[in-house]
Symmetry: C2
Subunit: 243 residues, 2 copies
């Protein structure tokens, strides 16, 4: 079987989750960088992998496949025991309909829209914030409310679900810092869980998130200039830009 090929755009949080997983677990792969806004792959999604005859999209399916197909992956990433595995599948399914929608849409409609050639949309941002906050509350009160193992579903070591969902929340880094703090600071278990996942997967976690930190810095500089000149950044940025 040929070397694993991985199509990624590091600006996409599911791509980052899959990259970190491979790095942490020493899976050898060739990274093919794709610009989501330009390229078309099956169903126009990254990440996608090619492994032998298998072409696979959807980050959760990829993470689960990699955890099973490669040898030497520690069991905690996707436990063999059926009940533990079932809970990890459950929280990943929940993620699709809740945290993902809330986080992605809030970041786009408050911050990234101009860079994608779209207008900021305060009304859509309000709706997205509701989904994001109720998802954070469910994480705090339900999914992280066990014996305090530090990870989802009462685990003491990270699973593919932790990696996927922490990467999702990491995109909030690009928000205005006060706004990010307003949203996240009430959720103490969520904040601790982000740190636990970061620590468990470093230095790969930070390295793969570098692109996000660069965007964060650029947006901070834009906001500072805007504060000086009083210009609305959503107008100043104009059309599509690579930030």
């Amino acid at each position: 079987m040929g070397k694993l090929k991985m199509y990624t755009d590091r600006m996409s949080q599911p791509s980052r989750a899959v990259l970190i997983f491979c790095r942490v677990n020493g899976i050898d792969f060739e990274e093919i960088k794709v610009d989501i806004s330009k390229e078309v792959n099956p169903l126009q999604k990254v990440p996608a992998i090619v492994h032998g005859n298998l072409k696979l999209s959807e980050s959760h399916a990829i993470l689960v496949y990699l955890a099973s197909a490669f040898t030497g992956i520690a069991d905690h990433w996707y436990p063999t025991e059926l009940s533990r595995r079932a809970k990890i599948n459950s929280v990943m399914d929940w993620h699709h309909s809740n945290l993902r929608n809330g986080a992605v849409n809030y970041v786009i409609h408050t911050t990234l829209a101009p860079a994608l050639g779209r207008q900021l949309n305060p009304k859509a941002a309000i709706e997205a914030e509701k989904v994001l906050l109720s998802s954070l509350k469910a994480l705090e009160d339900f999914w992280l409310n066990g014996d305090d193992g530090g990870f989802l579903c009462d685990n003491t070591q990270p699973s593919v679900a932790d990696l996927s969902m922490v990467c999702e929340l990491m995109q909030l880094e690009v928000l205005d810092e006060r706004d990010r703090s307003r949203i996240l600071s009430p959720y103490k278990k969520v904040l601790q869980w982000i740190e636990n996942t970061r620590t468990a997967t470093n230095p790969h976690f930070e390295e793969v998130h570098n692109i996000l930190y660069r965007v964060k810095k650029k947006l901070e500089q834009q906001r500072a200039r805007t504060a000086e000149t009083g210009t609305d950044p959503s107008n100043r940025m104009g059309g599509p830009s690579k930030i």
Copy 2:
């Protein structure tokens, strides 16, 4: 381990998928009927199961768990071979962000809103229709575009993914018949696939969908009365009703 308990609302398509799976595979269970609009279960979702110490929500996670935890389930429902399993996981993940949103929101905003105590929302219906149509196109051109095995991902027998996604599309039964035909009829492979899944899982498929056919009939009668009297049914229904 005690008997499997299953919390369902047969008006919810994921509940119907799990029920049909258990019936087809001879899994013994106790059904506890829940009215979604009244009851609260973990994260306010049905279906949910209790099996020994395991409490589990999210229909895909439940289907995958049941296919693995009970003996005698034919391999085609959730194949052991990693590549085939990966593709089924992939299409189920895709479903969450595409077909599900499109189908649920279209049905609610064009048809079921008054019964849920909400106003019909033509603008939201237009947005939902876009998602629904692009999902149907992806099903037709990508997920069902193999060697014509008759099921998703080139399979010749149904998997948990077929059951979940066909149940999702079955909710379109409650639409005005001309509208349902307008939406579905261009997608010949999708129509054939619905029939294949129905045939492969009957008589349980039809029995579990009975509740939907009753709602369909009531709504048809309402539409006929509206056509006679010229009254707008969305106003006439007023507040919440059990249809």
